[in-house]
Amino acid sequence: MKHLLPVLALLAVLFGGRAAAAPPLPGDSVYNLPVQLTTQDGQQQMLAERRGRPQLVTMFYTSCQMVCPMIIDSLRLTRNALDPATRAKIDLLAVSFDPAKDDVATLKSYAEKRKLDPRIWTLARAEPAQVRQLSGVLGLQYRQLPDGEFNHSSELILLDAEGRIAARTTLIGRLDPAFVKAIGETVNKP
């Protein structure tokens, strides 16, 4: 009996916590879209599992010569411009337009070449139909060309902890102070 109460309390916390856990997803959250991601480490993950922490999201592909390297650099630059406390509260996610070429191994080697710490960076692929859906929900455009290259728009998108698009920037290659400010505000919202 002496142990029952704490056990019951623990159980109550566990299950009660569970029941009280996720309030319903807001209607404008991108997590309403079920997208199955596979990371550069081969891990399967639903996009919605990222709920709870703000995310800096973009889309790219590894064989892109022109702007995609800049996108990755901009993400890095933006993250570094944040103060350490804020920095620790966000994750970075880059999803490939080109799942055919960007398999897990390719993503992994790209991450290593560009020194992207997997604790911070998730490079992911999804099935083609889901890539199109993700681009739809993020408002990005892309088109595959006959030679395998892609035309695509380039943006950094900030999702708040609930998956709502809180800010976005098209400024690639250098810092967007307004975007950095928006990240700070979103992350540190009470």
Binding site: D28, M66, V67, P69, M70, L138, G139, L140, Q141, S153, S154, E155, I157, I165, R168, T170, L171, I172, G173, R174
Partner: protein, 504 residues
Amino acid sequence: MSRPLSTVLAALAVFALAACSDKPPASPAAATPPASTSVASERGDFGPPQGEPIKAVLTSPPHVPPPIHRNYPAKVIVELEVIEKEMPISEGVSYTFWTFGGTVPGSFIRVRQGDTVEFHLKNAPDSKMPHNIDLHGVTGPGGGAASSFTAPGHASQFTFKALNQGIYVYHCATAPVGMHIANGMYGLILVEPPEGLSPVDHEYYVMQGDFYTTGKYREKGHQPFDMEKAIDEHPTYVLFNGKEGALTGDNALTAKTNETVRLFIGNGGPNLVSSFHVIGEIFDKVQPEGGTVAQHNVQTTLIPAGGAATVEFHTDVPGSYVLVDHSIFRAFNKGALGILKVDGPENKLVYSGKEVDYVYLGDRSEPNLKAVATAAKAHAAGTLTKDEQIAAGKQLFTGTCSVCHQANGEGLANVFPPLAKSDFLAADPKRAMTIVTHGLTGKITVNGHEYDSVMPPMSQLNDDEVANILTYVINSWDNPGGQYSKEDVAKARAEAGPHADPGH
């Protein structure tokens, strides 16, 4: 509701990628005020907006929003809605117009130079097409078109500073641009100079446009747009303010005598240039092409497609003054016609109206051609007598034949043969008909004298005139007598053919 795609599309102005090009990124235009001591009415940026944002008053044609009385740059909010609607284009003829603000031309926008305009373009949910707007007064990509591409049931916003004063066209620039414009998507935005415009009694808004329908002009019913005609530049209608009769009858513009009128005239096109003229008025002042330098005393001013002009004049005399495109078939056969009705007291010193109506007799030397008329009537009634013919022929002879053959038929010695007691005539009276209708050249002998002259064919005479003249001649001056009928003359005229060789 986030609009990430429109943000992407709107990125043109601000987008910069150093890696893809070596050029430094473009910084947003921070216009420095011109260094020279320019007149305030030249291009200028007067600094950031001051005071509370102002919601712009937009008006439907032909009305113009009131003049701006403000001496500082402000933020002005303009909300314009695109509505696709079916409206009459002419009596009994309807057309699906695409409009800014429900009218063709679209609402008139009035701001002051240096204002910061926050432009909201809304596209009604019922619209079939996406639309955008290009304002010629905007300095920026597409004149705003790049930033205002709007799907039905959505709205776009962009902001621009009105750096230049003037009267500017705005229009939709969605592909195919010509079709959107041809369907009525144009209007005017006035950017006042900072000192404002001089006061006038009336300001009106008129915009010309050409319209292309598959049916003919005024063919009744609903008419669709005809792209082939538009490409070939063969309009069906050329109209002021989108409708035949938009400015006539009860819809005529009005003014009183001794007032000043200013017209803001635009030309949406899509194709035609306008030769704008107000019948009965002279433009005291014209700002050709809407520019800053004024021209004076102009009768007709050219307004390019996608352009505008400001004209001013003073009304002196009452009446209806007709606005036209002086490529005049457009005014009377395609509808480019409007009326300015001026009421007030007459001013005879400037224009008197009709003073006298007097008779003006024609060119004929014989003042009285009554006999000719009588003969003609009689011939028509079938009762023509020889005496009537002789009387008519006598009147006709004078002034036509008498010039050469003389009034008494004597002719001129060695030059023109006589008709009086002419043996030549008596030898073959029928020949006379051929001579009068076809002329005569070459040597002939008349009454013992030789004549070698040229008688031209009297082709100005018709058959009964010839018949009457010859009847008169053959019965005068001791000639044998006889009668010629119109039918004989006609036969002789036809038989002989051109340049018949007269027998000797």
